[in-house]
Amino acid sequence: MNKAQLLAVILAELQVIFEEGGIGAGPVAADTVLFGDNSLIDSLALVGLIIKVEEYILEQTGREVQLIDEDAIINGSQTPFRHADALADLALLKSNAA
């Protein structure tokens, strides 16, 4: 499992969220904002996205990871949930560390 695969999962799920929410913001991309100012999805949709990634890692590697932890929350503007690319980085980091 590599970053490109994780990013593909994130973008596919993001596309579903956009379609379900009627969000017509053009194609999703690595720099699509997930959290904070300019985010197009709400916090519960972000939670759903995070679950999708955690379950994907479990299916692919058998490793249980928890992407939301204190470090992620207190990072403020540097949150790893700020855009799709950063979330993929975090997921790979957590998966490799598990």
Binding site: L44, A45, G48, I51, K52
Partner: protein, 231 residues
């Protein structure tokens, strides 16, 4: 109710077993409890664990969600009762009540709702009790666990709703088998006198209540359906 995969906790006896037996012919029914459902109950897939044991519970849940990736209906039914005034209740009994009646359904709901959210559908039903409403002497901890579970369900319903997952409750008066066996003994009036309707909750109406929630998956959530005239 169209065919579903139904996970019921505590389906080795009492109400849980009765529900499992009812649905087993037409649905895939899974039991999570310390002891398996009796073979005579029909095709019920049992996974054994002590729900007070967090590690064992999580391991069983991993196996269940691996074997059954799509669970349509979760019924958090398993519970224990210890009717003892708090001042003389054993500390370990307090812990066990909280672990089985409140912590276990929370852990189970977490494992299952993750799958339901991904599937964009699912229903969770908690079996509650008349104890919080009637403030029965000796049931302080039991009532607290059930009241806590009701609060939990209302919030979880809001978290699940955007994903098509809803959480509702059956506010059971009393069911005359299983957990209440040792309380009722030879004297059912001891329990019936507490219930405004003076009768045990009939199984067909409990089933109807659950199936009502399960068959209305769009906007009915965070509700408690009380039995026995308790409001």
């Amino acid at each position: 109710m169209p065919p579903k995969t139904i996970l019921i906790t505590g389906a080795s006896r009492g109400l849980g077993l009765a529900l499992a037996q009812h649905w087993a012919p037409d649905h895939r029914v899974i039991n999570l409890s310390r002891t398996p459902a009796p073979a005579s109950a029909g095709e019920i897939r049992s996974y054994a664990c002590d729900l007070a044991d967090e590690t064992a519970t999580l391991a069983a849940l991993r196996q269940i969600t691996q074997d059954h990736p799509k669970i349509d209906l979760l019924i958090n039914n398993a519970a224990i009762l210890a009717t003892v005034p708090l001042c003389v209740m054993k500390t370990q009994d307090i812990g066990r009540l909280i672990d089985i009646n409140l912590k276990a359904p929370i852990l189970i709901s977490k494992a299952v709702i993750r799958k339901m959210m991904q599937a964009r559908s699912g229903q969770i039903i908690n079996i509650l009790s008349m104890a919080p409403k009637l403030a029965i002497v000796g049931d302080s901890v039991y009532a607290a666990t059930k009241a806590g579970l009701e609060s939990f369900s209302r919030v979880l319903n809001k978290e699940g709703h955007p994903f098509g997952v809803h959480v509702n409750n059956i506010g059971l008066s009393a069911y005359p088998s299983g957990m209440l066996d040792h309380v009722i003994g030879q004297n059912p009036a001891k329990v019936l006198n507490l219930i405004p309707h003076k009768r045990f909750a009939p199984l067909p109406e409990i089933i109807a209540g659950i199936e009502f929630f399960a068959s209305n998956p769009v906007d009915i959530g965070g509700q408690t359906l009380h039995f026995g005239g308790i409001a």
